[in-house]
Symmetry: C2
Subunit: 154 residues, 2 copies
């Protein structure tokens, strides 16, 4: 039977070490996301709503299907998120001129304001934690952010 050394770091060799690294990374990310969720009780926007507004702010208008694919949720789930945002006046729906089946979803002025402020509020806790880290550790987390995003897009 295999005995796996839990102290192993990531190595360039394949096998048990790699499987263990994958497992540890998965568990760490899941715990982290739950911890982050525990900090969001102060505001009223869901993870999905904030992710969509943040994405629209950076990348501009997208169709519902594009947003669903981007956030890795089903079309009905994304529709529900967009409905909430529209009711709040944070996004607008505009039928596409060329393909009238499509609907372009864009950030309103109110949406732009609220994503800036809400994201700030949600980040207060994480920011305070990061401020206590060393520059080296923060650089490592910046690197990780990039790598995690790359993995998530696969």
């Amino acid at each position: 039977m295999l005995s796996i050394d839990m102290t192993d770091a990531l190595t360039s060799s394949p096998g048990p070490a790699l499987a263990d690294d994958a497992s540890r990374l998965r568990l760490a990310v899941m715990r982290f996301s739950r911890r982050l969720r525990a900090e969001r009780a102060v505001d009223t926007m869901s993870d999905g709503q904030i992710a969509v507004l943040g994405w629209l702010r950076v990348k501009g208008a997208h169709t519902l299907g594009e947003l669903a694919e981007r956030e890795r949720v089903s079309a009905p789930s994304m529709n529900r998120i967009v409905n909430c945002l529209e009711e709040s006046g944070y996004v607008t729906r505009t039928p596409d001129g060329k393909d009238r089946r499509k609907v372009n979803i864009a950030l309103s002025d109110a949406g732009r304001d609220v994503i800036t402020e809400t994201a700030r509020l949600r980040d207060v806790w994480l920011e305070s934690v990061l401020s206590e880290f060393t520059p080296t550790e923060r650089a490592a987390l910046a690197e990780a952010e990039s790598l995690l995003s790359r993995i998530a897009e696969r």
Copy 2:
């Protein structure tokens, strides 16, 4: 040493850069966790169940309250998770000898088998992604795993 894109990097100065880093890290982790969730359709165990079995395997028996605190969920939520695991025969409940209010939850033999196999299945995808990364990138992710765990424990 790590190669870091300075337009994205965490810097040692406080202020907007730090807030932006926190925001980006948060969004990346949330997307990653959703992506990971999408890979679990093949099996029937929830994130919480897997996290608990994995923790019990490494750390041995714990009370319900300890597990709830560890996983950052409420006691009723953890109770529900443990109920499912007990019905499946993967954990056992044993009243504590010294304080009869407490209940020790321990991995059964079947639980030990299933966590080993299930974790392996769930890690197949992530492992295949990691195998295509460079040793430097994988070292960065190992470092991130440690840092994310530290943050989650705050």
